[in-house]
Amino acid sequence: MAKAKGAIVVDTVKCKGCELCMVACPTNVIVMAKEVNGKGYHYSTPGNPDACIGCTNCAVVCPDSCITVYRAKA
């Protein structure tokens, strides 16, 4: 298992499921959830969190500022 360097937390309540973060992710971390949120959207979620490198691309393109990005200092 690859060692994760980064991690994301998605505000699943605010997410509108536009999928722009999924396209922007270079390591295919993000998938759209099968479940829907209160607005009826398939929200984005880290389906493959170990691959995250903390590049912030997903958060930068998010129109609703739903994503917080963490990166380990190691």
Binding site: K5, E19, N57, P63, S65, I67, T68, R71
Partner: protein
């Protein structure tokens, strides 16, 4: 390292700007307005001008922009944002003033105000969101609608003989002596979003330096108006909008 060890407050490298409010934006999924609002919030936070910035909200989808950024706002009549920005900046020259307008606002009903504000060289920032359509009212043809592009008032595509040609207002404004910085950017990839942010920082710094009008056009998507998914809209924009509206700086003095 375990994910739980990474998700700690000291490891945060990107989070929502403090200038953005907690209100949920009313924009459609994937709307470029959200990205540009976020960028303006980040620029205001980084330059430390939250207390001194006054935004001029347009009529259009961004009419509720005052709900999303924690700064002072004025709501302008349709297209009159540059005129209102002129007044605000002249009355309070120490404030940072920017107008935020769509293509129907800036390039159609507000063309006169836009051109004359730029020609007077008013010391303001103008943010221009160009998605080639009237998004708010249901996808009608705008002056910036491309030739052959479908809209609800030109369902068979824009026909120049009947509807005229698409208007490159940014090119027109770049020829005016009052403008100091005119650029065209986009927000379809993370790299382009970062470039747009740099352009906005430059525009606001130009205002601090008193250089005259700075115009930042953002070629944007309207997935609801274009009747495509947000990701397909981005592809469509790259394929069709960018050849006619090429990205880059048109003027930088």
């Amino acid at each position: 390292m375990d994910i739980k060890d990474i998700i700690k407050d000291e490891n945060v490298i990107y989070k929502k700007s403090a200038v953005l409010t907690d209100n949920e934006m009313h924009y459609c999924p994937g709307c470029t307005h959200g990205v540009v609002h976020k960028l303006i919030a980040e620029v205001i936070e980084e330059l430390g001008i939250q207390d001194t910035t006054i935004g001029i909200a347009p009529v259009g989808c961004a009419v509720f922009a005052y709900d999303y950024l924690e700064i002072d706002w004025q709501e302008a009549a349709h297209g009159r944002a540059p005129a209102l920005a002129t007044a605000v900046k002249r009355l309070m020259p120490e404030k940072m003033v920017f107008s935020y307008q769509g293509d129907g606002d800036l390039a159609a009903i507000g063309t006169a105000e836009t051109i004359h504000a730029c020609n007077r060289g008013e010391n303001i920032v103008m943010v221009f969101i160009n998605n080639g359509i009237y998004g708010m009212t249901g996808g009608q043809m705008a002056p910036t609608t491309l030739q052959g592009m479908k809209a609800s008032t030109c369902p068979f595509g824009r026909e120049p003989q009947q509807d005229g040609f698409p208007l490159k207002i940014t090119e027109i404004l770049a020829t005016l002596p009052g403008t100091s910085f005119v650029t065209r950017q986009s927000c379809h990839t993370a790299a382009s979003v970062r470039k747009t942010k740099k352009a906005l920082i430059k525009a606001f710094k130009n205002q601090q330096a008193g250089k005259g009008t700075s115009l930042v056009e953002v070629v944007a998507t309207c997935s609801s108006g274009w009747k495509q998914s947000p990701t397909k809209s981005n592809d469509w924009m790259v394929e069709n909008m960018f050849p006619f509206y090429p990205l880059g700086d048109l003027k930088d003095e």
